[in-house]
Symmetry: D2
Subunit: 363 residues, 4 copies
C-alpha cells in the first residue's frame, strides 16, 4: 500500500526536542512525497477535529525551540464516551494512511491500543525522565540533566563560601535518572531517588561526617519522587512526598526538597537552603545531542511508516535507531539499576559506605 | 603616611565577583608595593586570628570562580564581648595600615563604625539584590538577573506548550530589583515585589484576562519578599512570607512562590507550577560585566587606600568608579522606584492596567 | 500636534536587542494610541515602499530573539538619485507623524540629516562596538563581551593543558571596547586594540617573559582592527589589517589574529592557535542586561516622539534614559580612553610594564 | 597478583572530561586500596621522572574543570633513543602494578606497544573528534558539538537579519563527526567533511538555489579537514587545506573556512563571513553527559586493572562500559558512514539533491 498522508501528534508532558522531531518528519516526508497533518493537543485533536497542515515553511526555525508547535495534553480517548470510535472516524475522514505518536508511557499505551484496533501507528519515545524501557535513551533527558548540572555547579561555590548544605530537588516522580546523572555530573554528596528509600537521619549523617572530615559544605540532590522516611516514622508509613496532603487535606506547600532542607537544618544546626528547579528542566532549547537524537527519531519514524510498518516504536540501541515492538516500551518502567546505584556509591559520600568495598561494578 | 600592608575581608552573603575583587586588589597592590593580608570568614577572622597572606600566585585562576577564597560569615564584633577592641588589637598586631571591607549593608555598617573609631577602612559594595544606595549598581546583580532570566526563558516554552501558569520565585527579601529586571528581560506577565503589595486575586485576574484574550499561559515572577495578601485576609494582616511560621510554629515549607502557585491553581483551575531558584542566583561564575565591575572596584579600592583615604566606599556613577562617603551607602535601602514600576506597568499584563495611559515615564 | 502614526527602522550592522526595542516601541505605542509602521531593511524600505504594520501580536515572542524582524541594510538614500525626496514622499504618503531610527553611526547621521530637512526623527543608538559617544553604553555590547568572555574562559584551560598561546580575534574595527572588556573579564595576558598600536615583537616579549616566570601559556586578545606593526616594517607603513590585499590584490585570507598567531609561533617556537569569533558576537539571544536596556530605550523613544520632540537620541547616563541631541552621538567616535588603558596595564602582563608604577587610575 | 599502585597519564590533544576521568580513578582506587601515581605530560613524564601522587584531596573540585591537571604532550618514547627501556625502568622503579593511559590514537598505539612488551596497561579512549573505532562515543565529543551548535545558533539570526552567508569552520582533521552533528543540530544548509569531497561551485549552487527560493541566507559548516576542490583545479590536485603552504612556502593564513567564505562572496556576490571556532571546542567545562561518561570510564578502568587485565580499552557499547582489545581501537579510524551521510542529505539543502529520493536510511 502506498502511504500518501500521515498524521503526527505530541502527547503527555512537554520535552525539549519535540519540535525537532516534527521538523524531521515533515522534511523527510516531503522528500518521500507524503503529506503531513498535525493533530493539535495530543489525542484531543482527534476528538475536536483540531489539526493543521504541516509544510516545510511552517517548520522553519523551530529546530532549537522548546515546547511543541502542536501543543500537548493528556487527553485519553478511552476515557471519553465513544472516544476510540471518534478517533477512528477522524483518522478515516482525514484520509490518513498512518499516525506518528510522539509521547511517553501514556501516549504510547494509547498508540498500542489503536494499533491493535487496526490503525497504522508508529511511536516515538519521549520523556525527560528517561524511564521508558525499550530504548537506551529518550530525547529531552540530556537537556534535563544539563540544566540540573548547571544549577548544581552554581550551588557548589556558594555552598563552599557559606559552609552550608544545598538541597536541589530535580524531576523524577518514579525513576531517579535525572538525580543520578545530574548528581554524578555535579559532584553531589547525597543522591536520593525513588528506587532506594533513605531516611532523613542517614542524610544528616553524611552531612555531619563530611563536616567532621573538614568538608564544610554538602550538596544533596533529591528526585521529586524520592522516598525519604520521616523522623520518628516506622518503616511502614514512611515517605514525605510532594503529593501527600497536609493536615487540612490540601496539597502541601513545598515538596520533599523543602522538607529535607528544613530537617537538616534542625537536626544538624547547619544552615540549609533549597532550590526547586521544576519545569526549567523540561522547557527551552534542547541540547545539541537531544536535537540530533530527535532528528534521527523523526526521520526513522516517517521512513518506517512509509514502509508500511505499524505497532512499532523508534528506539536507540547501540547508537542505531531501530524499530522495536510498541508493547516493549510500555511493559515496564526502566528504573535506576544496580550498576548505576553502585556508581552512586562510589561518588557520594558515606551514605552507603559499607558497600564501597563491594566487588567491581560493571557499568 | 606610607601604606605598606592592607587587610581585606569579605562579609555577608555570597556574591559572584568577590574573587575578582580580591584578585584585583592583590594584583594592583603588588604594583604599588603593598602587602595584602586576607582576613578569613569576614570579621570573624579578626576575632579568631584567622588570616592568610595573599600573593598573585594565590589569586591565579580565581577570576571566574564563584564564592570567595576568603570565606564569609555574618559575624558582628559589636555583639561579642570586647569584640571591637579585639579587632583593633589584631589590626595593630598584624601591622595593618588599612582594611578593605567587601560586603553589603551589614559589613559596610561595621566598616563605618571602625572608621569612626579610628581605623583606616575603605568599603566595596556587594549585594546581588542591588539595594545599596550610593552606587548605581553592585557586582553580582547582573549574574543574578542573568541566571533568573535564563530560567524564565526555559519556562516560557513549556508554559505555552502546556497552557499552564509558571511561577518563579527569585531572590529579593527587601527589594524587588531582581524580580523587576529578570521579569522584564524574560517577558513576565506578572511581577510581584516587596515595594508594591498585591493580592492573590489580582494575580488570578491577570491570568484569567490573558486566557480570555487567547493567551493560554502566564509567567508570574515573584520576589521572595513580595507582599501578597492572602485570600480572605484584611489588608491589615496581609502577607505570606517564607519566614512566617506555620500553625505549629515551625518555618513553613515552601515560600511565597509555592503558595501563589497553589492558589492560582485552586482559584482559576489552570495548572500551575513553581520554580524556586534559590542560591543558584548567587553562586557560580560571574557574568563578564560583573567581573569587569569587580575588577574596577578592586583596583580603585586599593588605590584609594594607598592615597590615605578612609571612611569611603567605592561606587559606580555615570560609568566611573568614584569614592563616596561610607555612610551614604547604608543610610537607606535603594528600593524599586517609580520609573521602574511604570516600566513594569508597560510590559506586565492587565494588573495595573489603569496606569497604562499615565504620562510618559522618564526611566 | 497629536502623534497618530510612527515609523520604525533598524539600520546598519545586526545587534542583539533590536527586536526588544521594536517590541517595546509597539507595546508602549498601543497604550498611547499610536500606530506603528515597520519600515523594512533600514532606509531601503522607504525607497522600495517595503513596510509592514506592527501589532502586539506580531511582536510576541521576539524579546529574546537575535536579529531583527524588520531586516537591516546599509542603504544610504543620499547616495541614490532623488533618494532624500523619495524618503520624504514616502514619509508623507504613509501619513507618518514621526520616525524612530535604530542604528549606529551611519543610520544616526542619516537620521540627523532628515531631521534637519524637517522630518520628525528620534534615534536609538545601537552598536555592539560601544563606540558611539553621547551614551554610556549601547545595547548589544554586553552580549558581545559575554560571548567573547565565554570563549576565552574555554581557551584558558586548554592553553594551560597544552602550554600554548591562544590568540582570539574579537570584533572592533575602530574601537577596542570588546577586546578590552572581554580581555579583562577573561584574564587575558595581552590585549591589542586600534587605539594603541603595538608590535609583534612586543607581544612575543610578553609570551617569553611569562614563560621565563613559569607561566607556560598565554592568552592574546586582539581586536579585528588592532594596529600591529609587522616585523621589519618601519613605523611609517605598519599594520596588518584584515582589509589589506595580498600580493595578488585579493583580500587576504585570515585577519590580524591568524597573522599574529603564526608570527608568535615562528618567533618563539611555542605552539599558537587562533580563534576568530566573527559574527557569533553579534548574533543570537541578548543578555538580560541588553534586553532591559533595549526595552528602556524603546519605551523612551516612543514617549519622546509622542511628546513631539525631534532630532534627539536616547542615551543612558547615570542609569537614566534621557534624550540628547542627535548630533552629539555622531560627532566623534568614543574610543578606549586613558582610565581603561591604565586598567589594562594593571592586568595584562609585562607589555606596558613601565607604566605599572604610574599614579593611581581614576576609572 | 594484587594491584597496589597504578600510574595514570593523559596524552595527545586536550579534551573536556580528562579531569573527571582522573578524579574517578583516584576515588575508586582509594576504595579498592590502590595508590595512584600521576605521570605528568603524557609519556614525557616517564622519560623525565615527572610525577605526582594523586589523593582525593588533590582531585577535589576538578570534576567540571577543562584541561588536565596532569598536563599533556605528544611525546613518543619510541622516537627517543632508549625511550622504551627508560619507560620500563621507570615503571619498575616506581613500583607500578599497572598503567592507565588516557588518550587518542597516538597514546593508545603506544599503550598497545607497551602492553605487548609486557607492561600491564589499560586504555581510556579520548578524542573530541569521535573518530576512534571500538567505542560508540568518546568523552569530549559532546562538549565539542555543544559549543559548535551554540555558535551556529547565534550565527543563524544574524545571517537572516543581514541576508548573508555564514561559514563556520569546526574541528575534524580526518573525520567530519563534529561538522555533521553540530551541522544537523544547528540546521546547517551545507555540511562539508573530509569523507565526502565537494567543490566551491557546488556550495555556491546551494547558496544561489536557496536565494532563488526566497531563503535569503545560508549557514555553511565546514570541518577543518574538509576536502574542497578549488575553482579551476582538476579533480586530481584538488583541496585547500589549512596545512598547505602559500606561494612563499609559509603556512597559509586562514584555513578552508576563510577560503570558502571568500570564494562564495566572489562567485555569488552575497556577503559572506567566517567564524573559526578553533580550540574553544576543546577547552572549558565538559557537558553533563561528558562528565558522566568520563566518570564511568574512569571507574571501569581502575576496576579492570585491579582485576589484573591488560591490553584492553574501555568502550561504550549499548550504554554499557566494557573492556575491548586495545588493538581494536587503533586498527582503523571511525569515519562518517553512509547512514549519517544520508541523514545530512535529508537536512542540508540541494547539494546532494539527487540522493534525496534514495531508499530509506537506517540510521
Amino acid at each position: 500500500m502506498h502511504v500518501r498522508k500521515v498524521g503526527i501528534l505530541t502527547g503527555g508532558g512537554d520535552c525539549p526536542g519535540l519540535n525537532a522531531v516534527i521538523r524531521a518528519v515533515v522534511t523527510r516526508a516531503e522528500q518521500l512525497g507524503i503529506e503531513v497533518l498535525g493533530v493539535r493537543g495530543g489525542w484531543r485533536g482527534f476528538l475536536e477535529n483540531d489539526t493543521e497542515e504541516l509544510s516545510r515553511q511552517r517548520t522553519r526555525g523551530i529546530l532549537d525551540a522548546g515546547g511543541t508547535i502542536l501543543g500537548t495534553t493528556r487527553t485519553n480517548p478511552f476515557q471519553v464516551k465513544g472516544g476510540p470510535e471518534r478517533v477512528e472516524a477522524a483518522f478515516s475522514a482525514w484520509a490518513l494512511d498512518g499516525l506518528i505518536a510522539v509521547g511517553g508511557e501514556g501516549t504510547l499505551s494509547l498508540a498500542t491500543k489503536f494499533h491493535e484496533r487496526g490503525l497504522r501507528v508508529v511511536g516515538v519515545p519521549k520523556t525527560i525522565d528517561n524511564d521508558l524501557s525499550g530504548t537506551e535513551v529518550t530525547f529531552g533527558f540530556d537537556t534535563a540533566i544539563s540544566v540540573a548540572t548547571e544549577a548544581i555547579d552554581r550551588l557548589r561555590t556558594t555552598a563552599e563560601a557559606h559552609e552550608r548544605v544545598m538541597v536541589v530537588e530535580v524531576m523524577g516522580r518514579n525513576a531517579g535518572w535525572i538525580a543520578v546523572q545530574a548528581g554524578l555530573a555535579g559532584g553531589a554528596d547525597v543522591i536520593a531517588i525513588p528506587e532506594r528509600p533513605t531516611t532523613v537521619d542517614d542524610i544528616c549523617k553524611v552531612v555531619l561526617t563530611r563536616r567532621a572530615e573538614g568538608k564544610t559544605f554538602s550538596i544533596v540532590v533529591i528526585a521529586e519522587g524520592a522516598l525519604v522516611q520521616e523522623r520518628g516514622a516506622s518503616e511502614a508509613h514512611l515517605v514525605v512526598s510532594n503529593k501527600s496532603p497536609d493536615a487540612f487535606g490540601r496539597p502541601r506547600l513545598g515538596g520533599v526538597g523543602a522538607y529535607v532542607a528544613r530537617e537538616i537544618e534542625e537536626l544538624t544546626g547547619i544552615e540549609s537552603r533549597v532550590t526547586v528547579l521544576g519545569h526549567v528542566q523540561r522547557g527551552g532549547t534542547p541540547t545539541a545531542r537531544d536535537r540530533v537524537l530527535a532528528l534521527r527519531y523523526g526521520v526513522k519514524a516517517i521512513e518506517t511508516i512509509a514502509e508500511g510498518a505499524s505497532g512499532v516504536m523508534m528506539a536507540l540501541r547501540a547508537d542505531e535507531i531501530i524499530a522495536v515492538p510498541l508493547v516493549d516500551a510500555t511493559r515496564e518502567r526502566k528504573l535506576v539499576d544496580e550498576p548505576w546505584i553502585r556508581l552512586c556509591d562510589v561518588f557520594t559520600d558515606v551514605l552507603w559506605a559499607k558497600r564501597r568495598t563491594s566487588p567491581p561494578t560493571s557499568t
